[in-house]
Subunit: 357 residues, 2 copies
């Protein structure tokens, strides 16, 4: 009973059990056509030698790896890492494995090597979780990038014949600003993300449209751009106070920037929400514990990820089954508003302590 140094393979099992490798294969795959006797014996041997089939070899022959590739950038930021977390759970749940590629820049356009690395490992599909920034989608026009491998995008402008799953950032912006108007604020400024980002543009457009529809003139001085970081938020809010002194509320494009906006406003001795209302975006767990607790637009990254993975698997199944290909479609999920203290000018009973999630 030669015990190989590496690990037991199907041949070892076959020879120990005194059957052919084929029979072992049948047992492993729970095929019906094996005599109960034989099945039992083979199973015992498998147990005994600790045999586990090689998914690698299986993938090679079946041309199906049950592995999804995920491409992501900026894992050190909260947004991307939340997205990945959701994807990892959803993929795990679907019984797939996940091959992770992190790219160094959001606006990389040299995506060729990434595709190759993933394809050469025979992933069944690729989830492109890099946000749409600048020209980082231009490669999609290259018909070079083979479309044979199912592709699902997160967080980008929906378009024909491409599967995109994203929250509706435009609607999120609308929710935030509508709420501020309802609370009686009229001079509503905006701190945006970098406008190369699709998400930033959408959120800003929501702000602008709601104000315009309310008959409020929107000027450039009512707005400043940050780069998503708390540091940039502090600068932006200072700039805004300069440019737009009559401002009585701010819609900030993410919670990190809103955090420092709160700090700067506090420092100025202004009261939130009495003097200035603030609404953020993302609903990071800490936002309930900012000072005061932050009203914010909630996006459910888990749900987005789950939907994306489900779509992906549908596409894979249908393309493998030789069935009619799934109709590729864009899915826009709705965000919701979490109202906390930083914007509640009208209610008298406030949950100042935060805590509300």
């Amino acid at each position: 009973m030669r015990q190989k140094t590496v690990r037991a393979n199907i041949k070892d099992v076959a020879s120990v059990a005194g059957v052919s490798t084929q029979t072992v294969s049948r047992v492993v795959n729970e095929r019906p056509d094996v005599a109960p006797e034989t099945r039992k014996r083979v199973k015992e041997v498998i147990e005994q030698v600790g045999y586990r089939p090689s998914e690698l070899a299986r993938s090679l022959i079946s041309q199906r790896s049950y592995t999804l590739g995920v491409v992501i950038a900026g894992l050190k930021y909260i947004g991307p890492s939340a997205a990945l977390s959701g994807i990892a759970s959803a993929v795990e749940e679907a019984g797939y494995s996940l091959l992770l590629k992190e790219i160094p820049h959001f606006d990389t356009n040299s995506i060729e090597p990434i595709f190759q690395a993933l394809r050469s490992r025979h992933v069944d599909g690729i989830i492109w979780a890099v946000s749409e920034v600048g020209e980082n989608r231009s490669w999609m026009k290259d018909s070079q990038i083979d479309s044979e491998i199912p592709l699902v995008f997160l967080t980008m402008e929906p378009q024909k014949n491409v599967t995109v799953v994203s929250i509706n950032n435009y609607l999120g912006g609308r929710l935030a600003v509508t709420h501020l108007l309802e609370q009686g604020y009229r001079q509503i400024g905006h701190i945006s993300g970098p406008l190369e980002w699709w998400e930033a543009r959408q959120r800003m457009k929501g702000w602008k449209d709601v104000l315009t529809e309310a008959g409020i003139l929107v000027e450039d001085r009512q707005w400043a751009a940050g780069n998503w970081s708390s540091a940039s938020g502090a600068l932006a809010v200072e700039k805004l106070f300069d440019q737009y002194p009559e401002m009585d509320a701010i819609f900030v494009a993410n919670d990190q920037m809103a955090l420092s906006a709160l700090q700067v406003i506090n420092q100025k001795g202004l009261k939130i929400p009495e003097d200035i209302g603030v609404v953020g975006f993302d609903n990071i767990p800490e936002s309930a514990f900012f000072w005061p607790s932050l009203t914010t637009v909630k996006q459910d990254q888990y749900h987005v990820a789950k939907v994306a993975v489900e779509e992906m698997i549908k596409i894979i199944e249908s393309s493998r089954g030789g069935l009619v290909p799934v109709q590729l479609k864009s899915i826009l999920l709705e965000p919701s508003l979490v109202v906390r203290c930083s914007s509640m000018r009208f209610e008298t009973i406030k949950n100042k302590g935060g805590g509300q999630l």
Copy 2:
């Protein structure tokens, strides 16, 4: 020139170029023994048909996948996701791929299926990035878990014959409390993480030891446990004020809990750092923008990850090369203290605005 529906493989290239697959293989692997003429022609064909070798097939034959498995839990938390971010970068840089497995609970002990999933995909090594919690290391005594595959652990108690890379949490606790003493605080409370966590215990021990060495009696009422979340931090600090009213400083075991501690203290009308000093742990990017900006212990996750990946690759190389196996060792990296406003009682010039990173 039959174009296969799937994608060009080595045979296609060989037949188009009129050579054997072997020659193609030689060209692809940049072997010297190919005639310049032939090499050129083969390269052209490769380009033309868009051939890329299958890493899967290569892995199968060479028993080397250039893929590392990473096992992690709680990706939705900042700590684990920062760790993964570092690992992903370091792995990418080393030219390896990353197979990600997220497990649902920190204290899972059924790690068998995880190992199998990873092994069956022939990963060259596994980075175990799940923090040590409760009994979740007990499987290490099981000799069942084959030790044939190189294993590197993050964030656990160093031990013999195991490679562990972690920051020195105990030292971190010491740094924090020593600093508070230097700033003249004497009644220093502690909000710990859940004590099932090794990290939490280490940080707490640092607190206790420094106080004891300074001749200060440490009682149980000077301490309360949280669960790392901001919500739990709020509860813990309330409890602490009840139990330990004379408290003049708090060392909080992570920044999220420190955030809500700051909030609760602010609400009570106490001044930070005058009445109460606060020091956190982790140095999350937002901590510079808390109110007031938070003094905290900085752990460099990127460095930890980089060291871990380097160790891993050393182990792999040495075990493959048939060389003497690398001596397995534990590596404890040193954290540092980032001093901001929440603890600076003595300095008169303060950078109240945060911003200092």
